[in-house]
Symmetry: C2
Subunit: 406 residues, 2 copies
């Protein structure tokens, strides 16, 4: 017998950095909620909880499936997103707004900060305010840093972008040789930077294709060793393509860009340098240009690119990611429909040769505010990912454009 659900409205929002498939989750949840009788209205928050407390809302109860499907295929957050990290006081205002709009179920699509918002809102509503509110977190983050998940919706598409970008850029680098450094998103976890290694392919050229070096935030970065690594590759291949996480740091946890910029007068100029999005790449390129001596003393062609925002919402998602992002949201609505009062969703993977994902209900407190890092078995030495990482990552990104050399 189906449980009796609280009658009232459902609300849904999107939070944090956009992804290529976050609208698949939105649409998956809305379509599933449209079928639930006790749910009267389905309300969308504009720009996350920010829109809820500021009465910026949109009614999705009767948005036609055809329009929703077009939205699902559109990258980035269609409701708008938010960088707010609500504290308990802010969360109390969220609960107040839920009461005002007769909201009885709260769905929030986002990363570990968003799951923490869910957790706090859930606690305040049901214990302190004695207001029955069921809160569900729907996972999303290109950083892949949610605990208990094999991977998170959004990551496979961003990983696909990295693989395609490094593949094209490595061919570019082979064509006009030099040292090429590409800076990849992911301040605390190296999964996305590691995904660049998929660009090597699995053919006979894999040992010659870039990226030749991969620097992760999990491994302390040594600028001197960086030079000798590049020098060694350059001596062998006459070129070197490098994947660097934006989050690389010193052994004591300082961002590398600050240490490389030490020779600059930071009072007068530091602001310009350090606030710049290209700063880390430019500093590393400058470091190599000044300090790496190559045989024959010829001057080295060194360049850095910082991929920027397009890596998180490139309009060519991984097909698996699109499916899973939707499935995870539908799963959260199913948790609500079968009587769960709160929770989050984790994607796990069945052991075996063929890729097979499963969804699992977890507690909000299991995931809230925690950060997953690259496990040791995914890291190879101080400048690469392991074969185990490649085997883990490859099925997620879909088919990559094939390439051939002369």
């Amino acid at each position: 017998m189906p449980p009796s659900l609280p009658k009232g409205n459902a609300i849904i929002g999107q939070s944090g950095g956009p992804t290529a498939v976050i609208n698949q989750s939105l649409v998956g949840a809305v379509l599933a909620l449209q079928e639930l009788k006790p749910v009267r209205k389905i309300i969308g928050m504009r720009h996350g909880v920010n829109g809820l407390v500021a009465d910026q809302l949109v009614d999705l109860s009767r948005t036609p499936a055809k329009h929703l499907e077009a939205v699902a295929r559109t990258p980035s957050a269609a409701l708008g997103s938010s960088r707010d990290k609500p504290d308990p006081e802010y969360c109390a205002r969220i609960v107040e707004a839920c009461r005002k709009y007769d909201v009885r179920s709260f769905f929030y699509i986002g990363g570990n900060d968003s799951s923490d918002t869910c957790r706090i809102v859930n606690e305040i509503a049901n214990t302190r305010e004695n207001y029955e509110l069921r809160c569900f977190h729907i996972p999303k983050t290109i950083d892949n840093d949610l605990v208990l998940s094999d991977h998170t919706p959004g990551f496979p598409s961003a990983a696909r972008f990295q693989a395609m970008a490094f593949e094209a850029d490595s061919l570019d680098n082979a064509s006009l040789p030099g040292v090429k450094i590409n800076i990849v998103m992911g301040r605390h976890a190296g999964f996305l930077t590691g995904a660049a290694a998929l660009a090597r392919g699995d053919g006979r050229d894999r040992d010659r294709n870039g990226p030749h070096l991969v620097y992760l935030p999990e491994v302390p970065f040594d600028p001197e060793r960086f030079l000798s690594d590049i020098g060694r590759i350059y001596a062998r291949l006459g070129r070197c393509q490098v994947a660097v996480s934006e989050g690389i740091q010193t052994p004591d946890g300082r961002p590398i860009v600050t240490t490389l910029m030490q020779h600059l007068d930071r009072d007068a100029h530091g602001n310009v340098q350090l606030s710049g999005v290209g700063a880390l790449g430019d500093a590393l390129a400058d470091h190599v240009r000044r300090n790496l001596k190559v045989a024959g003393g010829k001057s080295l062609r060194v360049r850095a690119d910082t991929f920027g925002y397009i890596q998180r919402a490139w309009p060519d998602p991984s097909p698996i990611d699109a499916r899973e992002a939707r499935a995870a949201a539908k799963f959260a609505v199913r948790m609500f429909a079968k009587g769960d009062t709160s929770g989050s969703v984790a994607i796990t993977r069945r052991k075996g040769r063929a890729y097979k994902a499963e969804l699992r209900a977890i507690e909000l407190s299991d995931v809230a505010g925690k950060t997953r890092h690259m496990p040791a078995e995914f890291i190879a030495g101080h400048n690469d990912v392991s074969d185990a990482f490649i085997r883990w990552c490859r099925p997620l990104v879909g088919k990559l454009p094939p390439t051939a050399r002369l």
Copy 2:
């Protein structure tokens, strides 16, 4: 009756910045040359004329069509490219190498510098050295800056990248509002920066979609007007996405990055700043952050991305571009086969509603070393492209991913 062609070998090379379809041109030429009886061997130069004078060559006479077709679909220059701009002395060495390898036809895929190399080599061989050599230029450049052409192979694919990148990034900017500046390649011509405007689509949201402002190298750039432009858009939409050519300059032709950096001590630090690939974007973002006052005095979220090398060889070419790059190369071989002794190829467009391109033989001296700029009718005011530009550009890029809003 077919003309009698000089018996001997043919040589082919790729030059300048890679594109997504430059290998279509290579393969188109090689397959066509494989069918010409008087051509004994088809020799590929490694890294352009650099490989020719350094004996870095590869025999393509019997490379199987199946392998060549796989190479054709691979972005970037499969033979390797070169930035060398040969002077007459260098060109004399090229002619000498042609004689050494019994080369009687010379095909060079590249931009206006490459057509100039063809022209000089042709002149030295046939007049000064009395060596019969037939020289053909096959057009290629993402900058679209060759005279007499409607557009150049490589441009449509790079324009497609811009349209997709700005579309995704504009959705990102709508989701997390702020000022977003994207720096686009093209130091002397604004075609590629203008292509960003295709991201607006042609639906009812076209006036709200980014890019909201477009700054071309053909229009002198005024940092003060830049601020008021952004302020006006921001007041209307609460966000602003801006396309900026890397080549924007002051009315007297100085690069903007140098004028924005004037407050810095250039002796001590200028080098780091100006050599950085992110420097222009970071300087513009910093300029906006410091100097633009918005209503309510709240602090503005400003960010700049520089798309970098991936914009020229992204592995998702425009289908029209792939076809035309191949056709232009086949056309050059046909010119040779029917007895022409030198020349280049221009793509022209038939007037009419439906897109239809034609190929035309032109003289090397018509195109060599000349630069085409955006014509006045493609430019709208000081910060946009015209509808005529959009109509011209749209058919080139292929189908873009559709998007929908809530």
